[in-house]
Structure formats: C-alpha cells, structure tokens
C-alpha cells in the first residue's frame, strides 16, 4: 500500500516535468490524433476533413519558459533547478520501480517454494538491477546538492523531508510544490520573451508548394466556396500543365538523345539576347580596358592608387561574370538537361541582376577615385580611364531597364521549370506568422482542408511547421526550436482523380497501313481510384483504373484518329498501361505510358512521397 502511495506521489510530481514546448502541440483530425511533431510518420488526412492544431497553453508556456531561459548560452538558475528536480524525480521513480520488481520477484519465489523462504533483505542487497537503480538515485541525490546555493529554501524543504518517516513521499511533495511555483515563473518568462509561429503549406508532388491559411497566424486567402466530394474526374490546372508537358515531351520522346528543336530555338534566342546586350554595352571592351587599367596601376610607382585598384578589380570581376555567363544545356539525360537549363536560367538571371545593381556603382566609384588621383597628380592614362569608366557607367544606367527586364524574364522561365517549395516552406514565412506569447491568448488553430484555394489532389502533402522564438526588447525574433509535421491528403472508397495528362506509347495490335511501333502521343486519362482506411501502403501505391483518350496517327487516310482505351495506372498515375481501339483506323492498340511532368518533378523533389 505504501509503495502504491509513493508511486502516486511520484507520478503527480513527474507530470509537472518540462519537455520540448513543441511537443505540447496536439494534432487532431477525423481519423486520429497525435501529440507533438513526429517526423517519421506521415498520417493520412481526408480531403474534406479539418485538422485541429491544439496548443496546451499552460504546459506550452511552462515548457517554452524553460527553453527560452534567460536568453544567454549559460543556463539560468531556473533552468538548472528545473533540470535537477526533473532528473531527481526520474531517478527516484526508476529506483521505486526497481524496488517493486525486486519485492514482487522475491514474493513470487517464496509463494512458489514456501520451504526456501528467500530473504527480502538479501535480495535487496544483491539484485543487480536494483543496485543500478540505486546508483542512479544516488547520482540524483548528488545533483540535488547543487540546489543548496541556487534555491536554499527548496533544498531545505527537501533535506528536511529525509528526516521524516516517509522521506521520499515528502521529498516528492516538496518538489511538486516547487515545480508548480516554477511553472508560474516560467509562464511569465515565456509571455515576456517568447513568440510562436505556425504555418501550413500544401506541397504537391508535381507542382510548387502553396501557403495555406491558419486562422490567427496569417492572412493567406481561403476559397470562398467549401469543397465537397465529387465523383466525376475534372479538368483542372494540373491537367493543363500535364498535357502541355506531354506535348513538349513528345518531341523528346521521338529523339531521346537530344533536347527538342523548339526548346533549342528558345535557348538560342535567349543566348542571342544575352550576346546583344553584351555587344551594346561593350562589356568585352570594358573588361579588356579594366584589365589594362589594373595592370597600369599595379606597375605604377604612385602610392595613392590603392582605392583605384580596389574599385577597378571589383568592377572587372562583375563585368567578367557578365561576359562569362552562358545558358547551358548539358546533361546525359533529358531530365538532367531540363534541370540544368532551369538552373542555368536562374544563375544567369542572378548574374544579370547582380551586374545591373553592382556595375554602375562600381564604375562611378572607380571614376571618382580616378578623378581624385588625377587631380592630385596629372596623369594622361588615368584621365583616359576616368572618361572610359564614366561612359560605361552611363551606358549601364541607360540600358538598365532592358537589363532588369531580361533578367526577370530569365528568372521566371527558370522558375517555371524548377518551381520548388522554398518560399512557402521558408523560415521567413514561419517567422512572419509568429505571435507574441501571453497568458490569455489561445494558440490553437485549425486548418480546414475544404477551404484550400486552387487544386488539391489526393497524395498531396500538407506540412505544418512550428517554431518557438525568443523576442528581444526591440521585437527581433531568434528561433529557439522548430519542427514540422507532414500529412498526406487521402480519399477513401472509390473516388476520381482529376483528368491526367500523359504521354502514351501506342503499339498497334491490328494490321495497319503504316509501319508504327510504340507511337508517342499525348493522352488524357480519366481515372478512378480506391482508397482504404488503415492501408497506407495500398493508398501510397495509388492503383487506379479508367479510360484514356488519345489522338493517334495510324493511317494516312484519316486526318483525325481518336483512340479510346481502358487501362490501369499506379503511383498517382505515373505509370499507365492499357488496351484500346483507334476508332477511325479501326485498329486495336496496346499502350504503356507515363506522366512526364510528374516524372520530372519527382526528379526534382527526390522521389515518391
């Protein structure tokens, strides 16, 4: 009985122990709930469900107060005390549990063999597990001694309790009282110096991530109409992107070893624009002249040309960067080439933007410093250089609008190909959503999946990010801890996917006029899927069934040939296979296919999620 009372007292006191504040966030949705952030699991959430994100305010403030500490690298006395009390209670709990085990084990053996009658005292002296727990408890006692200087009052209360007949219960009670007091102090600390940020983001596997609205945390727009379950496949923005990609890739498919002619032409146009820009700005000449100036300054006996040399070198480096910038389409596979093109566009655009910002300033500074040097000592070479750089700076300023427009166009082209999730999932967005902590506000919020604007597809990910910040006197935030939790959008029973765009390779199975083998053609797929609760592996594989429709070209006699086929697909309609009929050519065909846009995005996103 006494042991049970002790257990209850310890449990009560241990419940007040600190943990990571972000673990005080609870997720609750239709089919489940989860405490804290667990990166290893990605629970499914129904497409038409709501995700409640509940924050246990009192506990969060206490734990946040402990983590925020005193704002320095050195733990505050409060943190140290909390850590000591927590560690001591854990050690007492472990010792208590080990004692119970020993007592139970001896009692059981004695009951089974009344003649032997093992000595409880001997068992307690010799049980190795109990000895280990006792050693842990002793280390807890040693830690407790540190309280003597940090918090003499609590130390005295605990120390006194060791003179009572129920020492450990009294000690646990004294510690519990102190932990309650500490909680209040920690909550005040957290309210004075903390902030909590929460964001939600939809991360589709085949498109850029988009921010979602969490009431009380951001102003992200929501859909004015609430989505309801539909059972007919619809054509949406993703379908259009996919079918466009399929058409682009048809040419790639015809010649798998080279990037399409259209694409090459676009690249050529861009490269020409770059070259034209360089010519009109005479950057090649400028680079040579700046190099010549640098050489002259270096070889000069004058000692006052240090600033000129620094400015000329900086300007030359930027001009050199501009001159060496080229769009590249290297790569051993088409996917790699496309990715390289996207990266190259971004890099080029960035180089142009850097140049447009830096070069005029650098050149003007160079001209000013050169003018000063000329004023100090007349120098024909320097005078010539000054005139040259002033002209170059003026040229840059005159062309700057065109310059920036070209850079922006390149940037948007690059981003179109390499749309990623950086912005929506950025730390800046999380910090912008941070709310100052106080004792009165409820930090809970809800994500209503029915009001997400734009397309939402089954197997899209929803990522909830949270961060605790330390707030200084000026309101500046410093991230103290952060975590994220992903959910995957799912529907159940039989449901339609939106119409998918794909590239199929149609192999005629009837006698036709032309010699065709696996003809690549863009196709639309009307797919339905099945989803089962409690079967995440099946749902991730996403087996679908449906019909595909494609414009085929089996015969020279028909201008339009429509193919209808029945088929199945797996992995969110990444791989297609089926059998159908060309209605005009009156020929059957077998097809395999894929979704090129999804395929490329999978390369970028690092695989199926």
């Amino acid at each position: 009985m006494k042991l049970r009372l002790i257990a209850a007292a310890l449990l009560l006191a241990t419940s007040a122990l600190a943990q990571s504040p972000l673990n005080d966030v609870q997720f609750k949705w239709g089919n489940g709930q989860q405490n804290g952030f667990q990166r290893k699991t990605t629970p499914e959430i129904d497409r038409y469900d709501s995700l409640a994100i509940n924050v246990d305010k009192q506990k969060f403030l206490t734990d946040a107060g402990a983590q925020l500490g005193n704002g320095t690298q050195t733990p505050s006395d409060l943190e140290t005390e909390l850590s000591i009390l927590g560690s001591f209670l854990k050690q007492v709990g472990a010792y208590h549990a080990a004692l119970l085990n020993t007592v139970a084990s001896v009692a059981k053996q004695n009951a089974a063999n009344p003649g032997a009658q093992l000595s409880m005292v001997d068992a307690m002296s010799s049980d190795p597990q109990l000895a280990q727990a006792r050693a842990g408890f002793r280390s807890g006692l040693a830690d407790l001694k540190k309280l003597k200087t940090i918090d003499p009052q609590t130390y005295a209360a605990v120390e006194q309790s060791f003179g009572s007949s129920s020492a450990y219960v009294s000690a646990a009670n004294a510690i519990e009282n102190r932990l309650n007091q500490l909680s209040a102090t920690l909550q005040q600390n957290a309210a004075a110096t903390g902030a909590l940020g929460l964001t939600a983001t939809i991360v589709p596997p085949d498109a850029a991530a988009r921010p979602l609205h969490l009431p009380n945390y951001d102003q992200v727009a929501v859909s004015s109409t609430i989505a309801v379950p539909n059972y007919i496949p619809v054509v949406d923005a993703r379908t259009q992107r996919e079918i466009t990609a399929a058409e682009d890739f048809r040419d790639v498919a015809k010649s798998l070893t080279q990037v399409s002619a259209q694409f090459q032409a676009s690249m050529k146009e861009l490269q020409t624009s770059l070259d034209t820009l360089r010519t009109s700005l005479k950057t090649q000449v400028l680079e040579v002249q700046l190099n010549s100036l640098i050489q002259q300054v270096r070889s000069s006996a004058r000692t006052d040309l240090g600033p000129v040399l620094t400015d000329a070198t900086a300007a030359r480096d930027l001009v050199q960067q501009l001159n060496s910038t080229n769009l590249t389409i290297d790569g051993t596979t088409d996917a790699q080439r496309l990715l390289n093109v996207a990266n190259s566009m971004n890099t080029t655009a960035q180089a142009l933007l850097d140049a447009s910002k830096g070069i005029p300033d650098d050149l003007n500074k160079l001209a000013d410093d050169t003018e000063t040097a000329v004023r100090n000592t007349a120098d024909a070479t320097l005078s010539q250089s000054e005139a040259m750089v002033r002209q170059a700076a003026s040229d840059f300023l005159a062309k700057q609008t065109f310059f920036i427009t070209l850079a922006n166009n390149l940037m948007s082209l690059g981003q179109l190909l390499a749309a990623d999730s950086r912005l929506a999932l950025s730390a800046d967005r999380l910090a912008a959503a941070a709310r100052n902590l106080d004792a009165n506000t409820d930090y809970s919020t809800t994500l209503d999946l029915r009001t997400i604007p734009g397309d939402v597809h089954v197997r899209d990910n929803i990522v909830v990010q949270a961060a605790l910040y330390r707030r200084d006197a000026n309101g500046q935030l410093t991230q103290v801890s952060t975590d994220s939790q992903a959910f995957v959008v799912q529907r159940y029973n039989i449901f339609p996917d939106s119409v998918r765009g794909g590239l199929i390779f149609a192999e005629p199975r009837s006698k036709i006029d032309r010699d065709i083998s696996y003809q690549p053609v863009p196709a639309l797929g009307y797919y339905w899927r099945t989803g089962f609760r409690g079967h995440p592996a099946w749902n991730a594989m996403s087996p679908s069934f449906g019909i595909t429709m494609a414009l085929l070209d089996f015969s020279d006699a028909n201008t339009m040939e429509l193919g209808f086929a029945g088929g199945i697909s797996i992995f969110r309609d990444l791989a297609w296979v089926g059998y159908g009929r060309n209605l005009q050519a009156k020929a059957n065909y077998f097809y395999v296919g894929t979704n090129p846009l999804l395929l490329v995005k999978l390369f970028q996103n690092g695989g199926l999620r």
Partner: protein, 117 residues
C-alpha cells in the same frame, strides 16, 4: 511517533555488540556537539521502513575513542572528531568521511544507500 535516537557507544552497548546485528551501520565517532548533531541526523535518516529501508539501518555514536574495536581502528586509522564511517551488513567498511560542516541528511541518506548494497 518519537524520532529514533542513535545507539551511544559505550553508554548503551559495546561496539562489538552493535556490529553483531545484521544491519547497515553508520558510526559517528566523536563526542563534540557536531558529532552528536550528526548522530541525531543519522538516527532520523535511519528510521526507514519503506522505499529502500527494507535493508535495516542503524546509527551509532561512539563517544569514546577507546571504544573503537581494534579491527575497525586498524582499517580506518585515526578518526578526528567527528568522523563518519559506514559499514555494510557483513561489517565491511564502505567509507570513512571527515565532516566538513556541510554534511546533512541528504549526504547521510546517500551513505546509507551506498552501504546497503
């Protein structure tokens, strides 16, 4: 319930008699005020019948240096006033500690636990 008092050697019993009992012993050697204070604290801490107290504990104050048995004396050597010695149930000396004025109930509990193995 009155607090248990330490056994005083040689007033109450001889040290041999005390050590003959199957207990964990904490012997405080000395007759100073601090030694008496420590012996009383040890007596309080020894009064335990739960949570580890199943191994019986006994606090002893030896007020006369001559009352220390030759065997113990040989093992621990000189014992300035106050010195705390803990012994296992089988009589093995675990520790001999000189008081620095900072020893309190928590230290005594720790020493009892150490000897209880």
């Amino acid at each position: 319930m009155p607090m248990p008092a330490p056994v005083i050697v040689p007033r109450d019993k001889s040290l041999d008699q005390v050590l003959a009992t199957d207990q964990v012993h904490m012997i405080i050697i000395g007759s100073s005020q601090r030694a008496t204070e420590l012996a009383e604290l040890a007596g309080e801490v020894s009064d335990r019948d739960e949570f580890g107290g199943a191994v019986p504990r006994c606090a002893v104050q030896v007020t006369d240096d001559d009352a220390v048995t030759p065997a113990l004396r040989q093992e621990v050597g000189e014992t300035p006033d106050p010195t705390i010695i803990t012994l296992k149930r089988d009589g093995t000396v675990v520790r001999a500690v000189l008081d620095d004025g900072e020893i309190d109930r928590i230290d005594l509990e720790d020493m009892f636990l150490e000897a209880g193995v």
